[in-house]
Symmetry: D3
Subunit: 253 residues, 6 copies
């Protein structure tokens, strides 16, 4: 049985629970998931700078808890620190946005993406482009419904707004498959899919399943290139669990 490490870089415990629920649902008995919530930083990352602020705690929690796990899943739809963590850690790392995009891509041609709040759309677009998916995504759309952040169960009004926006993604933008992006949108995918008639991907479900996939590949850790962690580096005033990763290695590599 696999051990999955799940880290939520927001300090909101209820978000962790919501993500954990979706992850558990799809991995079933194939993995035990250990979830951690940030102790410092933004309650909910809602901008470029809050994402940057949250990074320090993400790094600390990842360095502290990686041992004993087969794979790390980032519990945040903006993949905070994904590439840096792939270099820093000894285990593979899966991000919700990247996992959702690659999974959606295997279910159709053009991917329509839907999130809460227009101000994060450019940030998601930049992330999409960095993964090479700019030409695969038909459009990023956002619904404006701040109340969605406070409810914990599926809300009919949110569901209705998601269905309307998804129909635009399909009929106006030519999407073949849809991603619902944002932790508070967890749990709506099936409902929207049934209404709109195209597959709808829940990013945390995708991330948990892709975590099983990459863990089962048992990939070697890079010893060369930009994903190999350097050794013998001088770092000062940094969390000890992080700093120790850059010490001289005993057995070589």
């Amino acid at each position: 049985m696999m051990n999955i490490l799940l880290i939520n870089p927001n300090t909101s415990e209820h978000v962790t629970q919501r993500l954990l629920e979706q992850a558990q649902f799809v991995v079933g008995e194939q993995a035990t998931i250990h979830a951690y919530t940030a102790q410092t930083g933004p309650a909910i990352i809602s901008s470029r700078s809050e994402n940057a602020i949250a990074l320090a705690e993400m790094l600390r929690l990842a360095a502290t808890h990686q041992n004993g796990h087969d794979v790390l899943v980032l519990g945040v739809s903006i993949d905070t620190g994904l590439m840096a963590l792939r270099e820093m850690l000894d285990i593979p790392v899966v991000g919700m946005a990247e996992a959702a995009l690659v999974t959606a891509g295997m279910l159709g041609g053009k991917i329509g993406c839907l999130t809460l709040g227009a101000s994060m759309v450019p940030v998601y677009e930049e992330l999409t482009a960095s993964y090479g998916f700019a030409s695969r995504v038909s459009k990023w759309r956002a619904i404006e419904m701040p109340s969605a952040f406070s409810v914990t169960d599926a809300d009919p009004q949110v569901a209705q707004a998601l269905i309307l926006a998804s129909e635009k993604l399909v009929q106006q933008d030519g999407s073949d498959v849809i991603i619902l992006c944002g932790a508070v949108l967890a749990g709506y995918a099936r409902l929207v899919s049934d209404a709109v008639g195209v597959p709808v991907v829940d990013p945390m479900q995708a991330a948990a399943l892709q975590a099983l996939t990459v863990a089962r590949m048992q990939p070697s850790k890079q010893r060369q290139g930009s994903f190999a962690r350097p050794r013998n580096r001088i770092l000062s005033g940094v969390d000890v669990n992080i700093a120790s990763l850059y010490q001289p290695s005993i057995s070589g590599a």
Copy 2:
């Protein structure tokens, strides 16, 4: 437990066995795999036109055997008919090339690709670009070693050639992760990875694991767009299992 349908559009039974072995290795007890080998067409697809010739039998086998399966895996590294099958069938379809690319993409930045025989490189490059991965792939390289097609177990000479080419992919082309593309290269991934020090992806392993992933998502079949299969179409002189898919549907959809 899942049921995976594996179709090899080459008429070479020993290739089917080799692919089946890798798929079984990674899915373990999570799925039963039923494998079928083409009855007509090229023994080994080695060009654009042979790939086109092999398509008819791929469509026939897929239409004939999809019932009772959760997902179809195409047992061919050039993803013969992938997009057409996603529209034609009622179950999700996974291709080896696409699965390898998305899985490799979650293990690093730049993906180096290695195959047997230079004449197929442009075809793979076009396929890569069609999935949006042109900017993620560092380079496609080929080794020339026709003997590799006849051996059934790992051959030290082939291994050596793969390691040398992989080191170029890493050191000259900046690859962070490598794909070994081609059914006869199944079984070399671990060996090359240990030698070169970056993750090496076996496309059939990746495809089998991604088949589990997409099957567990239980995606809706498209009812709209270019992946919805049209109904009430007139087809003549076509295999009955195929033709029946285009009949008027009874319950609507």
Copy 3:
């Protein structure tokens, strides 16, 4: 005088006639055109999978009839099997979509494309991108008018819908030249052009003229690379006219 081979992979004879009429109109006395209609497959290709199903008959007709012709024109707006046929045959091959795009490109900057039925738009977009024309095409638009498929002469209602959509292509999308894509739209180009005030390209006219062009170049058949047809291949259960192309060559080449 040139001999042009025209193959319609749809089984609809009236479509062949309509295409032949346009081709004859522009080549005049410079070529004799021999047209063949598919004996099996979809009556009208309307989706990804029907295009895949139609491929087998296209390959068979091309292999059977290439001798004695200077060039093959594919009589289908989705360029069924274009790249595979370029490798398989000894004569050059011209597709309607590619010919229309390159011809339109020499008449302006941005190319607006118009077809019948929205569900094929993504397929045309993928085709456009594969030819490198993604940045040249301003937009693909579709009119929905199923009746257009049954009429054989220009219909004022269809004409009106095409003119309206073309004006959007020019005024909203910045198109400098327009392509009317789809066999049943043959014959409307002049009318739409006069109304809208930009050049409008008929794909079959473009394909027939480009067939003259490439035939007059008398290009060598590739002996190297991914467009060289391999020899000494094993194919089983395949049409004899196709299979014989892969036999050992007598004189070398």
Copy 4:
């Protein structure tokens, strides 16, 4: 019978003759070609600035001689003023570089380009990209052989250098078809093609044939958009044949 206007913006009459010979060879009796050579400007355009200097005479000759012709062919491999002339004139305009690229594109996948002198390669690359062909061109290579500019017939040393570079384009760069770019390379295409085993395109032959194609389409002149020539403009100190094109139109259009 068509009337083709051919303008060479270099002041070198022998270049005009060489281009005319290739054009005449392929159009045969289908068109009369009237060729004009620049009276002022660079003897041979060899840089960005010489191309800019040559533009004024190209505009003057085109405006002066367009009447009575069906199409203008630019007799210069860098397509001097192509887009501006398409807007300024009432007849279609064909450029050698664009014509070569689109014709080559219909003969294979990747296009290898070969010219004389490395310093123009970046300029050709920018031109290629502006036509949308960046992803279709495998590589631009140059041979350095200044003597090629003075000979008027095919020279065995030049031929040998072209064959060697073409083999690199095929074997190292994966080219399926080759373009020989530069007026002084006219006449080598067949020889190189026979030696290398892929089609080789002569840009002036391609341009002359594409001129027939676009002339036969009888495209409307744009009345809208960025290719419609504006009227009622104030120009001072400009050649009268040019200036008169911007006068108020009498009959509307």
Copy 5:
């Protein structure tokens, strides 16, 4: 103190004055600006062909006046002859469009562009793409307000139209920063910025400031590659200030 050469290739003296005013405003006492207005050519460049016609006078003025200046600023929003002048002259050259794009790019992510008159939008889009900024520009929009060309001071109606279009650029197109493109729009940037709440760049201000920047870098003139001016070239019937640049150099370089 720097000496900036400013050349307006339009024959409209009042445009020169308007541009000079903005340039002077931002460079203050750091530079003396010498401005020249075209003596021949279009009063106002409004199309591709007028831009081509204006090029000859731009080249003449630049060659005539470069001596004694540290940098040339092109006083035209379409960067007439920018790349050719960079090769032809001994001093650096700054274009308004390029300077506006790079300056705007340092103030946000997506750049929204606004001009007067839709027919030039495709020309600006091609220019943007040639600089590599296609993915950075959210959209080019145009207002239609011919009266704007005649007023010399900020006009409330023009201001209102610019503000409305800018709000669309921000809210519909996701722009983070805006460029007001066109000499007659000089002077509106602050007003629009205050109203819309994103930075608004005036291209002449940007060009003047970037002229200071590149002049202070004291960049070497290229002696190699496509930006090195060739020597020993034959040019006939060309302005003597231009022709002399291509004479054999005395001291080598």
Copy 6:
């Protein structure tokens, strides 16, 4: 007179001094530069993860010291936190890599980039692509010369290695202008430029000059979109100078 804030996120004080020297050299008396060095984090950022670790201190120093300054310059060649800081701060922010690219772009066509150590090349390539400069950069090359990190003055061996690599960038890769990327390469630009004959850009010089440019534009801070800093956010355990930026604003904005 301007006030420039310069922050070095490495804890190496001698790097700060080296950067300050270059910045001071080009801004002369036009600005006072206040430089700060990170108190915690990596001595020298040499990998993706060290860059991520250094971000926290960069954010802290920027939030603490922005008041009283006109613009912030990031003293690190990998532009640590650039986009996040543009949103978080009230003053414009300039990064060395972005400033070098845009400045180099105004001096030629293709930009060649040179750094120390191959393992950072992929990270620079990703950064380049994110700014839209992928098509403008000819190639990133690295020299391997660890000793360069310890010397404080120009070293002839380093100079020689830079000149050799730069000549490859020009002659093999077609670069028109070169960037020397890396703080320890400050001071070599003039020497390399004189030797190679193309302009060579020092990133800190470029950044300091671009800081003057953007500060003189006096751009409005975004009040909308993904670069507007959100208010009324909950952050816990975060530096007080950072946290206070997310408090409710008093006067609105």
